[in-house]
Amino acid sequence: MRRAVFIAAGLALAGTAQAAQKLGEVQAQRSPEQVYAAVCGYCHGKNVGPVIRGRALPASAVEYIVRHGQNAMPAFRPTEVTPAELKALAAWVEKSSADPKEHGQ
Protein backbone atom coordinates (compact mmCIF):
# COMPACT_ATOMS: atom_id res chain seq x y z
CA MET A 1 0.00 0.00 0.00
CA ARG A 2 1.90 3.12 1.18
CA ARG A 3 5.14 1.32 1.86
CA ALA A 4 6.77 3.70 -0.61
CA VAL A 5 6.14 6.66 1.67
CA PHE A 6 8.51 5.74 4.44
CA ILE A 7 11.08 4.14 2.21
CA ALA A 8 11.38 7.48 0.41
CA ALA A 9 11.80 9.31 3.73
CA GLY A 10 14.56 6.91 4.79
CA LEU A 11 16.47 7.50 1.58
CA ALA A 12 16.24 11.27 1.95
CA LEU A 13 17.79 11.04 5.40
CA ALA A 14 20.50 8.59 4.40
CA GLY A 15 21.53 11.00 1.65
CA THR A 16 22.63 13.68 4.13
CA ALA A 17 25.87 11.99 5.27
CA GLN A 18 25.55 12.33 9.02
CA ALA A 19 28.49 11.85 11.36
CA ALA A 20 27.92 8.59 13.16
CA GLN A 21 27.37 9.27 16.84
CA LYS A 22 28.41 6.48 19.19
CA LEU A 23 26.45 5.56 22.28
CA GLY A 24 27.62 7.47 25.34
CA GLU A 25 29.65 10.01 23.38
CA VAL A 26 28.82 13.62 22.63
CA GLN A 27 28.34 14.61 19.02
CA ALA A 28 31.68 15.07 17.26
CA GLN A 29 32.48 18.16 15.20
CA ARG A 30 30.41 18.13 12.01
CA SER A 31 31.44 19.21 8.51
CA PRO A 32 29.75 22.26 6.93
CA GLU A 33 27.70 19.92 4.72
CA GLN A 34 26.47 18.05 7.78
CA VAL A 35 25.54 21.22 9.69
CA TYR A 36 23.77 22.60 6.63
CA ALA A 37 21.77 19.38 6.20
CA ALA A 38 20.90 19.01 9.90
CA VAL A 39 20.08 22.65 10.66
CA CYS A 40 20.10 25.34 7.94
CA GLY A 41 18.73 23.31 5.04
CA TYR A 42 15.35 22.63 6.66
CA CYS A 43 14.38 26.27 6.01
CA HIS A 44 16.85 27.75 3.52
CA GLY A 45 16.06 26.35 0.12
CA LYS A 46 12.79 24.84 1.40
CA ASN A 47 10.56 27.87 0.98
CA VAL A 48 10.65 28.84 4.66
CA GLY A 49 13.73 31.09 4.46
CA PRO A 50 15.67 32.62 1.56
CA VAL A 51 18.17 30.66 -0.51
CA ILE A 52 21.68 31.33 0.86
CA ARG A 53 23.87 29.08 -1.29
CA GLY A 54 25.54 30.43 -4.42
CA ARG A 55 25.13 34.07 -3.40
CA ALA A 56 28.69 34.72 -2.17
CA LEU A 57 27.33 35.90 1.18
CA PRO A 58 30.32 37.17 3.21
CA ALA A 59 31.38 34.65 5.83
CA SER A 60 31.45 37.34 8.54
CA ALA A 61 27.80 38.20 7.85
CA VAL A 62 26.83 34.52 7.93
CA GLU A 63 28.53 34.12 11.32
CA TYR A 64 26.80 37.19 12.73
CA ILE A 65 23.35 36.22 11.45
CA VAL A 66 23.62 32.63 12.75
CA ARG A 67 24.40 33.89 16.25
CA HIS A 68 21.77 36.65 16.29
CA GLY A 69 18.94 35.33 14.13
CA GLN A 70 18.00 37.87 11.49
CA ASN A 71 14.30 38.77 11.38
CA ALA A 72 12.20 35.59 11.63
CA MET A 73 15.26 33.30 11.76
CA PRO A 74 16.17 31.74 15.12
CA ALA A 75 19.58 32.44 16.63
CA PHE A 76 21.88 29.43 16.96
CA ARG A 77 24.03 29.32 20.06
CA PRO A 78 27.65 28.15 20.33
CA THR A 79 26.30 25.07 22.12
CA GLU A 80 24.26 24.14 19.00
CA VAL A 81 26.69 25.08 16.25
CA THR A 82 30.15 25.20 17.82
CA PRO A 83 32.51 28.09 17.09
CA ALA A 84 34.68 25.79 14.94
CA GLU A 85 31.66 24.43 13.06
CA LEU A 86 30.35 27.95 12.44
CA LYS A 87 33.66 29.24 11.10
CA ALA A 88 33.85 26.38 8.60
CA LEU A 89 30.15 26.65 7.75
CA ALA A 90 30.33 30.40 7.06
CA ALA A 91 33.33 29.96 4.75
CA TRP A 92 31.52 27.09 2.99
CA VAL A 93 28.33 29.14 2.49
CA GLU A 94 30.34 32.04 1.04
CA LYS A 95 32.03 29.77 -1.50
CA SER A 96 29.06 27.48 -2.17
CA SER A 97 27.40 27.02 -5.54
CA ALA A 98 23.67 27.34 -5.98
CA ASP A 99 21.72 24.10 -5.73
CA PRO A 100 19.06 24.08 -8.49
CA LYS A 101 16.85 21.84 -6.32
CA GLU A 102 16.54 24.58 -3.71
CA HIS A 103 13.82 27.21 -3.77
CA GLY A 104 13.00 30.02 -1.41
CA GLN A 105 11.47 33.37 -0.78
Binding site: V5, A14, G69
Partner: protein
Protein backbone atom coordinates in the same frame (compact mmCIF):
# COMPACT_ATOMS: atom_id res chain seq x y z
CA UNK B 1 37.34 38.00 36.78
CA UNK B 2 35.23 41.14 37.05
CA UNK B 3 37.81 42.99 34.97
CA UNK B 4 37.57 40.20 32.42
CA UNK B 5 33.82 40.68 32.15
CA UNK B 6 34.17 44.42 31.62
CA UNK B 7 36.78 43.98 28.92
CA UNK B 8 34.63 41.42 27.12
CA UNK B 9 31.65 43.71 27.46
CA UNK B 10 33.48 46.57 25.76
CA UNK B 11 34.74 44.40 22.94
CA UNK B 12 31.35 42.78 22.45
CA UNK B 13 29.50 46.10 22.51
CA UNK B 14 31.70 47.56 19.79
CA UNK B 15 31.23 44.55 17.53
CA UNK B 16 27.48 44.60 18.02
CA UNK B 17 27.20 48.28 17.22
CA UNK B 18 29.05 47.85 13.96
CA UNK B 19 27.33 44.73 12.79
CA UNK B 20 23.76 45.08 14.01
CA UNK B 21 22.69 47.96 11.80
CA UNK B 22 19.54 47.08 9.92
CA UNK B 23 19.62 43.34 10.54
CA UNK B 24 16.45 43.14 12.60
CA UNK B 25 17.92 40.69 15.08
CA UNK B 26 15.72 41.99 17.89
CA UNK B 27 18.44 41.60 20.54
CA UNK B 28 17.93 45.13 21.77
CA UNK B 29 16.50 44.69 25.24
CA UNK B 30 18.77 45.23 28.20
CA UNK B 31 19.03 42.53 30.84
CA UNK B 32 18.72 43.39 34.53
CA UNK B 33 19.88 41.39 37.53
CA UNK B 34 17.43 39.30 39.55
CA UNK B 35 15.82 40.87 42.64
CA UNK B 36 18.28 40.83 45.54
CA UNK B 37 21.27 39.88 43.38
CA UNK B 38 24.03 42.50 43.49
CA UNK B 39 26.57 43.08 40.74
CA UNK B 40 29.27 41.48 42.88
CA UNK B 41 27.11 38.36 43.44
CA UNK B 42 26.63 37.98 39.70
CA UNK B 43 30.34 38.53 39.05
CA UNK B 44 31.19 36.00 41.78
CA UNK B 45 28.84 33.40 40.29
CA UNK B 46 30.25 33.98 36.80
CA UNK B 47 33.84 33.64 38.04
CA UNK B 48 33.07 30.43 39.91
CA UNK B 49 31.18 28.95 36.94
CA UNK B 50 34.14 29.70 34.64
CA UNK B 51 36.28 27.50 36.87
CA UNK B 52 33.79 24.64 36.43
CA UNK B 53 33.11 24.71 32.68
CA UNK B 54 35.98 26.83 31.35
CA UNK B 55 36.03 30.50 30.32
CA UNK B 56 34.70 29.77 26.85
CA UNK B 57 31.45 28.24 28.12
CA UNK B 58 30.28 31.10 30.34
CA UNK B 59 28.68 34.11 28.68
CA UNK B 60 28.06 37.21 30.75
CA UNK B 61 28.23 40.37 28.68
CA UNK B 62 25.34 41.70 26.62
CA UNK B 63 26.74 40.92 23.17
CA UNK B 64 27.99 37.45 24.06
CA UNK B 65 24.56 36.59 25.48
CA UNK B 66 22.78 37.68 22.27
CA UNK B 67 22.13 34.14 20.94
CA UNK B 68 20.14 33.38 24.10
CA UNK B 69 18.03 36.56 23.81
CA UNK B 70 16.34 35.81 20.49
CA UNK B 71 12.67 35.15 21.00
CA UNK B 72 9.38 35.09 19.12
CA UNK B 73 7.09 35.72 22.08
CA UNK B 74 6.08 39.29 22.97
CA UNK B 75 8.25 41.09 25.52
CA UNK B 76 7.41 44.79 25.11
CA UNK B 77 8.88 45.69 28.50
CA UNK B 78 12.09 43.64 28.31
CA UNK B 79 11.22 41.44 31.31
CA UNK B 80 12.35 38.13 29.90
CA UNK B 81 15.94 38.79 28.85
CA UNK B 82 18.60 36.47 30.32
CA UNK B 83 21.61 38.01 32.00
CA UNK B 84 24.09 35.27 31.09
CA UNK B 85 24.55 31.66 30.06
CA UNK B 86 26.53 28.71 31.40
CA UNK B 87 27.00 25.56 29.37
CA UNK B 88 28.02 22.37 31.20
CA UNK B 89 29.04 19.17 29.44
CA UNK B 90 28.42 16.71 32.29
CA UNK B 91 26.10 16.00 35.20
CA UNK B 92 28.96 16.68 37.61
CA UNK B 93 29.30 20.16 36.16
CA UNK B 94 25.53 20.69 36.56
CA UNK B 95 25.86 19.72 40.24
CA UNK B 96 28.71 22.20 40.72
CA UNK B 97 26.78 24.99 38.96
CA UNK B 98 23.71 24.42 41.12
CA UNK B 99 25.88 24.78 44.24
CA UNK B 100 27.37 28.03 42.91
CA UNK B 101 23.89 29.34 42.11
CA UNK B 102 22.89 28.68 45.73
CA UNK B 103 26.04 30.29 47.09
CA UNK B 104 25.53 33.54 45.16
CA UNK B 105 21.70 33.33 44.98
CA UNK B 106 22.04 33.64 41.22
CA UNK B 107 18.97 32.06 39.53
CA UNK B 108 19.55 29.69 36.60
CA UNK B 109 17.04 28.72 33.91
CA UNK B 110 17.66 25.26 32.41
CA UNK B 111 17.08 24.70 28.69
CA UNK B 112 17.65 21.51 26.71
CA UNK B 113 17.95 22.70 23.12
CA UNK B 114 16.01 25.94 23.57
CA UNK B 115 14.07 25.80 20.32
CA UNK B 116 10.49 25.95 21.57
CA UNK B 117 9.65 28.70 19.09
CA UNK B 118 6.47 30.47 20.16
CA UNK B 119 6.97 29.47 23.81
CA UNK B 120 10.06 31.52 24.63
CA UNK B 121 13.21 29.81 23.25
CA UNK B 122 16.01 30.57 25.77
CA UNK B 123 14.38 33.56 27.42
CA UNK B 124 13.09 33.43 30.98
CA UNK B 125 9.83 33.96 32.86
CA UNK B 126 11.38 36.25 35.46
CA UNK B 127 14.33 38.62 34.89
CA UNK B 128 17.98 38.33 35.89
CA UNK B 129 18.55 34.61 35.25
CA UNK B 130 21.50 32.85 33.70
CA UNK B 131 20.55 30.23 31.15
CA UNK B 132 21.75 26.76 32.16
CA UNK B 133 22.25 25.62 28.57
CA UNK B 134 22.34 21.80 28.46
CA UNK B 135 22.79 21.44 24.69
CA UNK B 136 26.40 20.26 25.03
CA UNK B 137 25.14 17.29 27.03
CA UNK B 138 23.98 15.42 23.95
CA UNK B 139 24.84 11.79 24.61
CA UNK B 140 22.52 9.02 23.48
CA UNK B 141 23.25 6.80 26.45
CA UNK B 142 21.44 3.65 25.44
CA UNK B 143 18.99 2.28 22.90
CA UNK B 144 17.35 -1.10 23.52
CA UNK B 145 16.06 -2.50 20.20
CA UNK B 146 14.16 -5.31 21.94
CA UNK B 147 12.27 -3.19 24.45
CA UNK B 148 12.15 -0.27 21.98
CA UNK B 149 13.46 2.26 24.49
CA UNK B 150 16.13 4.95 24.64
CA UNK B 151 17.91 6.90 27.38
CA UNK B 152 19.12 10.34 26.31
CA UNK B 153 20.61 13.56 27.65
CA UNK B 154 18.83 16.92 27.32
CA UNK B 155 20.96 18.22 24.44
CA UNK B 156 20.11 15.34 22.08
CA UNK B 157 17.96 16.64 19.23
CA UNK B 158 15.30 14.55 17.50
CA UNK B 159 17.54 14.70 14.45
CA UNK B 160 20.48 13.19 16.37
CA UNK B 161 18.31 10.37 17.66
CA UNK B 162 16.81 9.71 14.23
CA UNK B 163 20.28 9.67 12.64
CA UNK B 164 21.44 7.14 15.23
CA UNK B 165 18.48 4.85 14.53
CA UNK B 166 18.87 5.09 10.74
CA UNK B 167 22.64 4.60 10.74
CA UNK B 168 22.32 1.54 12.95
CA UNK B 169 19.44 0.08 10.94
CA UNK B 170 17.17 0.01 13.96
CA UNK B 171 13.52 -0.21 12.83
CA UNK B 172 12.29 2.23 15.48
CA UNK B 173 10.44 5.50 15.01
CA UNK B 174 10.68 8.74 16.89
CA UNK B 175 7.74 11.07 17.42
CA UNK B 176 8.44 14.73 16.73
CA UNK B 177 6.85 18.08 17.50
CA UNK B 178 6.70 20.47 14.56
CA UNK B 179 10.22 21.82 15.20
CA UNK B 180 11.67 18.31 15.40
CA UNK B 181 15.08 18.63 13.73
CA UNK B 182 16.40 21.26 16.13
CA UNK B 183 14.35 20.49 19.27
CA UNK B 184 14.95 17.78 21.88
CA UNK B 185 12.95 14.85 23.24
CA UNK B 186 13.86 15.87 26.80
CA UNK B 187 12.87 19.53 26.48
CA UNK B 188 9.67 18.81 24.61
CA UNK B 189 8.60 16.03 26.96
CA UNK B 190 9.34 18.10 30.07
CA UNK B 191 7.11 20.84 28.68
CA UNK B 192 4.50 18.14 27.95
CA UNK B 193 4.63 18.75 24.23
CA UNK B 194 3.02 16.52 21.62
CA UNK B 195 3.70 14.94 18.24
CA UNK B 196 1.53 13.19 15.68
CA UNK B 197 2.21 9.44 15.64
CA UNK B 198 0.54 6.98 18.03
CA UNK B 199 3.30 8.00 20.50
CA UNK B 200 2.30 11.65 20.22
CA UNK B 201 1.60 12.27 23.90
CA UNK B 202 5.26 12.51 24.86
CA UNK B 203 4.98 12.39 28.63
CA UNK B 204 2.87 9.23 28.32
CA UNK B 205 5.82 7.45 26.64
CA UNK B 206 8.49 8.85 28.98
CA UNK B 207 10.05 6.31 31.37
CA UNK B 208 12.57 7.20 34.08
CA UNK B 209 14.57 10.35 34.77
CA UNK B 210 17.81 11.44 36.36
CA UNK B 211 17.41 14.78 38.11
CA UNK B 212 19.94 17.10 39.75
CA UNK B 213 18.09 18.62 42.69
CA UNK B 214 18.60 22.18 43.93
CA UNK B 215 20.92 20.92 46.71
CA UNK B 216 23.12 19.15 44.15
CA UNK B 217 21.92 15.61 44.98
CA UNK B 218 21.05 13.26 42.13
CA UNK B 219 17.60 11.66 42.13
CA UNK B 220 16.69 8.83 39.80
CA UNK B 221 12.96 8.29 39.36
CA UNK B 222 10.98 5.10 38.75
CA UNK B 223 13.15 1.95 38.96
CA UNK B 224 16.34 3.99 38.49
CA UNK B 225 17.14 4.37 42.18
CA UNK B 226 17.31 0.61 42.90
CA UNK B 227 20.58 -1.35 43.07
CA UNK B 228 21.73 -2.35 39.58
CA UNK B 229 18.49 -1.12 38.02
CA UNK B 230 17.23 -3.45 35.30
CA UNK B 231 13.86 -1.92 34.41
CA UNK B 232 14.54 1.84 34.49
CA UNK B 233 13.24 2.33 30.95
CA UNK B 234 10.68 -0.49 31.11
CA UNK B 235 8.48 0.39 34.12
CA UNK B 236 7.32 3.94 34.66
CA UNK B 237 5.92 3.94 38.17
CA UNK B 238 8.66 2.62 40.49
CA UNK B 239 7.44 2.43 44.08
CA UNK B 240 5.65 4.96 46.26
CA UNK B 241 4.57 8.35 45.00
CA UNK B 242 5.12 8.76 41.26
CA UNK B 243 7.66 11.59 40.97
CA UNK B 244 8.31 12.19 37.27
CA UNK B 245 5.37 14.55 36.87
CA UNK B 246 6.94 16.89 39.43
CA UNK B 247 9.75 17.62 37.00
CA UNK B 248 7.53 18.51 34.03
CA UNK B 249 6.46 22.14 33.49
CA UNK B 250 8.16 22.88 36.80
CA UNK B 251 11.31 24.19 38.43
CA UNK B 252 11.92 21.53 41.08
CA UNK B 253 15.07 20.02 39.57
CA UNK B 254 17.32 19.85 36.49
CA UNK B 255 16.60 16.74 34.40
CA UNK B 256 19.92 15.40 33.08
CA UNK B 257 18.77 12.07 31.63
CA UNK B 258 15.40 10.84 30.42
CA UNK B 259 14.12 7.46 29.28
CA UNK B 260 11.60 7.21 26.46
CA UNK B 261 9.71 4.55 24.56
CA UNK B 262 10.07 4.29 20.79
CA UNK B 263 7.47 2.94 18.39
CA UNK B 264 8.47 -0.09 16.31
CA UNK B 265 8.31 0.75 12.63
CA UNK B 266 5.04 -0.67 11.29
CA UNK B 267 5.01 -2.82 8.15
CA UNK B 268 2.68 -0.36 6.42
CA UNK B 269 1.99 3.32 7.02
CA UNK B 270 -0.95 5.07 5.35
CA UNK B 271 -1.68 8.79 5.85
CA UNK B 272 -5.00 10.49 5.04
CA UNK B 273 -6.47 13.96 4.97
CA UNK B 274 -10.18 14.58 5.47
CA UNK B 275 -11.37 17.86 3.96
CA UNK B 276 -14.39 19.85 5.06
CA UNK B 277 -15.60 22.99 3.34
CA UNK B 278 -17.20 25.09 6.07
CA UNK B 279 -15.86 26.69 9.26
CA UNK B 280 -18.79 25.35 11.27
CA UNK B 281 -17.97 21.77 10.19
CA UNK B 282 -15.39 21.54 13.01
CA UNK B 283 -18.10 20.55 15.52
CA UNK B 284 -19.11 17.56 13.36
CA UNK B 285 -15.49 16.56 12.82
CA UNK B 286 -14.83 16.45 16.57
CA UNK B 287 -18.00 14.40 17.16
CA UNK B 288 -16.94 11.90 14.47
CA UNK B 289 -13.34 11.74 15.65
CA UNK B 290 -13.86 11.29 19.42
CA UNK B 291 -15.14 7.69 19.32
CA UNK B 292 -12.50 6.75 16.74
CA UNK B 293 -9.74 8.08 18.99
CA UNK B 294 -11.09 6.61 22.23
CA UNK B 295 -11.42 3.18 20.59
CA UNK B 296 -7.98 3.68 19.02
CA UNK B 297 -9.28 3.01 15.50
CA UNK B 298 -7.50 6.25 14.67
CA UNK B 299 -4.30 5.62 16.63
CA UNK B 300 -2.40 8.89 16.23
CA UNK B 301 -2.74 12.37 17.69
CA UNK B 302 -5.08 14.05 15.23
CA UNK B 303 -4.72 17.55 13.85
CA UNK B 304 -7.64 19.46 12.39
CA UNK B 305 -5.88 22.29 10.61
CA UNK B 306 -7.77 25.46 9.81
CA UNK B 307 -7.21 26.78 6.29
CA UNK B 308 -5.73 30.08 7.47
CA UNK B 309 -3.09 28.24 9.54
CA UNK B 310 -2.26 26.04 6.56
CA UNK B 311 -1.97 29.02 4.22
CA UNK B 312 0.26 30.88 6.70
CA UNK B 313 2.81 28.04 6.54
CA UNK B 314 3.68 28.57 2.89
CA UNK B 315 2.15 31.92 1.89
CA UNK B 316 2.75 35.50 2.93
CA UNK B 317 -0.29 37.40 4.14
CA UNK B 318 -0.27 39.93 1.31
CA UNK B 319 -0.59 37.11 -1.24
CA UNK B 320 -3.98 36.29 0.25
CA UNK B 321 -5.26 39.43 1.95
CA UNK B 322 -4.11 43.04 1.78
CA UNK B 323 -6.47 44.54 4.38
CA UNK B 324 -5.15 45.81 7.71
CA UNK B 325 -8.17 44.25 9.42
CA UNK B 326 -8.26 40.48 10.14
CA UNK B 327 -8.64 38.23 7.12
CA UNK B 328 -12.27 37.23 6.48
CA UNK B 329 -13.57 33.65 6.25
CA UNK B 330 -14.57 34.36 2.64
CA UNK B 331 -11.01 35.35 1.69
CA UNK B 332 -9.62 32.29 3.51
CA UNK B 333 -12.11 30.03 1.72
CA UNK B 334 -11.20 31.45 -1.68
CA UNK B 335 -7.45 30.97 -1.09
CA UNK B 336 -8.06 27.51 0.37
CA UNK B 337 -9.95 26.42 -2.71
CA UNK B 338 -7.23 27.77 -5.00
CA UNK B 339 -4.66 25.69 -3.09
CA UNK B 340 -6.64 22.43 -2.82
CA UNK B 341 -7.29 22.90 0.88
CA UNK B 342 -10.49 22.53 2.88
CA UNK B 343 -11.56 25.04 5.51
CA UNK B 344 -10.65 22.21 7.90
CA UNK B 345 -8.01 19.64 6.95
CA UNK B 346 -7.96 16.70 9.33
CA UNK B 347 -4.82 14.59 9.23
CA UNK B 348 -4.92 10.98 10.42
CA UNK B 349 -2.82 7.90 9.70
CA UNK B 350 -3.04 4.14 9.98
CA UNK B 351 -0.22 1.82 10.98
CA UNK B 352 0.02 -1.97 10.80
CA UNK B 353 -0.44 -4.72 8.27
CA UNK B 354 -2.35 -4.11 5.05
CA UNK B 355 -5.25 -6.16 6.42
CA UNK B 356 -5.45 -4.18 9.68
CA UNK B 357 -5.32 -0.90 7.81
CA UNK B 358 -8.01 -1.97 5.32
CA UNK B 359 -10.42 -2.82 8.15
CA UNK B 360 -9.83 0.47 9.98
CA UNK B 361 -10.05 2.44 6.74
CA UNK B 362 -13.57 1.09 6.09
CA UNK B 363 -14.76 2.31 9.50
CA UNK B 364 -13.10 5.70 9.09
CA UNK B 365 -14.47 6.26 5.58
CA UNK B 366 -17.98 5.44 6.75
CA UNK B 367 -17.71 7.83 9.72
CA UNK B 368 -16.63 10.73 7.52
CA UNK B 369 -18.96 9.96 4.61
CA UNK B 370 -21.78 10.52 7.10
CA UNK B 371 -20.64 14.11 7.72
CA UNK B 372 -19.70 15.10 4.15
CA UNK B 373 -15.97 14.68 4.69
CA UNK B 374 -13.76 14.11 1.68
CA UNK B 375 -11.27 11.36 2.63
CA UNK B 376 -8.12 11.59 0.51
CA UNK B 377 -4.90 9.57 0.26
CA UNK B 378 -1.45 10.28 -1.13
CA UNK B 379 -2.59 9.14 -4.59
CA UNK B 380 -5.52 11.55 -4.47
CA UNK B 381 -3.57 14.67 -3.49
CA UNK B 382 -0.34 14.19 -5.48
CA UNK B 383 2.40 16.60 -4.44
CA UNK B 384 0.25 18.83 -2.21
CA UNK B 385 2.87 20.40 0.11
CA UNK B 386 0.53 20.48 3.11
CA UNK B 387 -0.22 16.78 2.81
CA UNK B 388 3.49 16.10 2.42
CA UNK B 389 4.24 18.02 5.62
CA UNK B 390 1.65 16.22 7.73
CA UNK B 391 2.40 12.82 6.21
CA UNK B 392 6.01 13.43 7.28
CA UNK B 393 5.02 14.38 10.84
CA UNK B 394 2.68 11.40 11.28
CA UNK B 395 5.57 9.00 10.69
CA UNK B 396 7.95 10.92 12.98
CA UNK B 397 9.72 12.51 10.02
CA UNK B 398 11.68 15.73 10.26
CA UNK B 399 10.94 19.05 8.66
CA UNK B 400 10.49 22.69 9.64
CA UNK B 401 7.85 23.69 7.08
CA UNK B 402 5.56 25.16 9.71
CA UNK B 403 8.13 27.76 10.69
CA UNK B 404 7.03 29.73 7.64
CA UNK B 405 4.23 30.87 9.98
CA UNK B 406 6.63 33.31 11.58
CA UNK B 407 6.77 35.31 8.34
CA UNK B 408 3.00 35.55 7.70
CA UNK B 409 2.65 39.14 8.87
CA UNK B 410 6.05 40.49 7.87
CA UNK B 411 9.67 39.69 8.38
CA UNK B 412 9.78 40.43 12.10
CA UNK B 413 9.08 36.90 13.25
CA UNK B 414 6.48 37.19 16.01
CA UNK B 415 4.78 33.98 17.18
CA UNK B 416 3.07 33.04 20.43
CA UNK B 417 1.12 29.81 20.84
CA UNK B 418 -2.12 30.03 22.78
CA UNK B 419 -3.33 26.52 23.55
CA UNK B 420 -6.46 26.16 25.69
CA UNK B 421 -7.86 22.71 26.47
CA UNK B 422 -11.49 21.56 26.37
CA UNK B 423 -13.23 18.18 26.35
CA UNK B 424 -13.37 16.58 22.88
CA UNK B 425 -16.99 17.49 22.17
CA UNK B 426 -18.34 19.29 19.12
CA UNK B 427 -20.30 21.64 21.36
CA UNK B 428 -16.99 23.04 22.68
CA UNK B 429 -15.77 24.26 19.30
CA UNK B 430 -18.03 26.99 17.98
CA UNK B 431 -17.92 29.15 21.12
CA UNK B 432 -14.13 28.93 21.14
CA UNK B 433 -13.79 29.89 17.49
CA UNK B 434 -16.09 32.88 18.02
CA UNK B 435 -14.30 34.02 21.18
CA UNK B 436 -10.87 33.66 19.59
CA UNK B 437 -11.93 35.65 16.52
CA UNK B 438 -13.49 38.34 18.68
CA UNK B 439 -10.38 38.85 20.85
CA UNK B 440 -7.87 38.49 18.01
CA UNK B 441 -9.98 40.80 15.83
CA UNK B 442 -10.16 43.47 18.53
CA UNK B 443 -6.36 43.66 18.45
CA UNK B 444 -6.13 43.39 14.64
CA UNK B 445 -4.82 39.80 14.36
CA UNK B 446 -5.91 36.90 12.16
CA UNK B 447 -7.47 33.67 13.38
CA UNK B 448 -4.79 31.15 12.34
CA UNK B 449 -5.60 28.02 14.30
CA UNK B 450 -5.96 24.26 14.51
CA UNK B 451 -7.60 21.79 16.85
CA UNK B 452 -5.92 18.59 18.04
CA UNK B 453 -7.42 15.54 19.70
CA UNK B 454 -5.09 13.50 21.86
CA UNK B 455 -7.67 11.15 23.33
CA UNK B 456 -10.58 12.64 25.23
CA UNK B 457 -9.39 16.23 25.14
CA UNK B 458 -9.47 18.92 22.53
CA UNK B 459 -6.52 21.27 22.21
CA UNK B 460 -7.23 24.52 20.43
CA UNK B 461 -3.88 25.59 19.00
CA UNK B 462 -3.95 29.25 18.08
CA UNK B 463 -0.89 30.80 16.48
CA UNK B 464 -0.81 34.47 17.42
CA UNK B 465 1.19 35.82 14.50
CA UNK B 466 2.53 39.36 14.61
CA UNK B 467 5.45 41.44 13.37
CA UNK B 468 7.94 41.63 16.21
CA UNK B 469 9.99 44.28 14.44
CA UNK B 470 7.12 46.73 15.04
CA UNK B 471 7.13 47.75 18.75
CA UNK B 472 3.48 48.87 18.67
CA UNK B 473 2.43 45.53 17.18
CA UNK B 474 4.47 43.64 19.78
CA UNK B 475 2.65 45.53 22.53
CA UNK B 476 -0.71 44.74 20.90
CA UNK B 477 0.24 41.08 20.67
CA UNK B 478 1.10 41.03 24.36
CA UNK B 479 -2.22 42.64 25.30
CA UNK B 480 -4.09 40.29 22.95
CA UNK B 481 -2.48 37.17 24.41
CA UNK B 482 -3.34 38.21 27.96
CA UNK B 483 -6.94 38.82 26.96
CA UNK B 484 -7.08 35.40 25.30
CA UNK B 485 -5.87 33.74 28.53
CA UNK B 486 -8.37 35.51 30.77
CA UNK B 487 -11.26 35.46 28.28
CA UNK B 488 -10.94 31.73 27.65
CA UNK B 489 -10.16 31.10 31.32
CA UNK B 490 -13.50 32.53 32.39
CA UNK B 491 -15.29 30.06 30.11
CA UNK B 492 -13.41 27.04 31.56
CA UNK B 493 -10.83 26.76 28.80
CA UNK B 494 -7.40 27.05 30.41
CA UNK B 495 -4.09 26.45 28.65
CA UNK B 496 -2.12 23.22 28.74
CA UNK B 497 1.11 25.15 28.26
CA UNK B 498 2.30 28.68 27.62
CA UNK B 499 5.32 30.82 26.85
CA UNK B 500 7.56 32.64 29.32
CA UNK B 501 5.58 35.83 28.70
CA UNK B 502 2.37 34.52 30.30
CA UNK B 503 3.29 31.81 32.79
CA UNK B 504 2.06 33.70 35.83
CA UNK B 505 -1.23 34.64 34.20
CA UNK B 506 -1.94 31.06 33.11
CA UNK B 507 -1.07 29.79 36.61
CA UNK B 508 -3.72 32.18 37.96
CA UNK B 509 -6.36 30.32 35.94
CA UNK B 510 -5.68 27.19 38.00
CA UNK B 511 -6.58 28.80 41.34
CA UNK B 512 -4.98 29.74 44.65
CA UNK B 513 -4.86 26.28 46.25
CA UNK B 514 -3.01 24.86 43.26
CA UNK B 515 -0.55 27.76 43.32
CA UNK B 516 0.01 27.50 47.09
CA UNK B 517 0.68 23.77 46.80
CA UNK B 518 3.32 24.34 44.14
CA UNK B 519 4.82 27.14 46.25
CA UNK B 520 5.14 24.75 49.22
CA UNK B 521 6.90 22.18 47.08
CA UNK B 522 9.22 24.88 45.75
CA UNK B 523 10.12 26.08 49.27
CA UNK B 524 10.87 22.52 50.35
CA UNK B 525 12.90 21.48 47.29
CA UNK B 526 14.63 24.74 46.37
CA UNK B 527 14.64 27.00 49.44
CA UNK B 528 16.84 29.64 47.79
CA UNK B 529 14.62 29.70 44.67
CA UNK B 530 17.58 29.45 42.34
CA UNK B 531 16.01 27.07 39.78
CA UNK B 532 14.03 28.88 37.07
CA UNK B 533 11.90 31.21 39.22
CA UNK B 534 8.71 32.04 37.35
CA UNK B 535 8.46 28.76 35.44
CA UNK B 536 4.75 27.86 35.26
CA UNK B 537 4.11 30.74 37.66
CA UNK B 538 6.13 29.09 40.45
CA UNK B 539 8.56 31.54 42.03
Amino acid sequence: MTANIDRRSLLGGAAAGAAAVGLGTGAKAKAVLAPGVRKRDFAGAVAAMRKVVGDEWVFADPEAVSPWKKSYTPDPYGKHVPVGAVCPESVEQVQAIVKIANQFRQPIWPVSTGKNMGYGMTTTAAPGQMILDLKRMNRIISVDPELCTALVEPGVTYRQLKDYLVENNLPLWIDVPTVGPIASPVGNTLDRGVGYTPYGEHFMVQCGMEVVLADGEILRTGMGSTKNPSAWQAFKWGYGPYLDGLFTQSNFGVVTKMGMWLMPQPPVYKPFVVRHKKMEDVARIVEAMRPLRIANIVPNVVLMMGAAYQLAMFKRRDEVWTGAEPITDEAVAKAAQANNLGMWNTYIALYGTEGMIAESEKIIRAAFAAIDGEVLTQEDVGDNPWFHHHATLMQGGLNLDEIGLARWRGDGGGLAWFAPVAPAKGSETQGQVELAKQILGKHGFDYTAAFAIGSRELHHIIALLYDKSDPAEEKRADDCYRELVTGFGERGWASYRTGVHAMDLVAEQFGTVNRAFNAKLKDALDPNHILAPGKSGIL
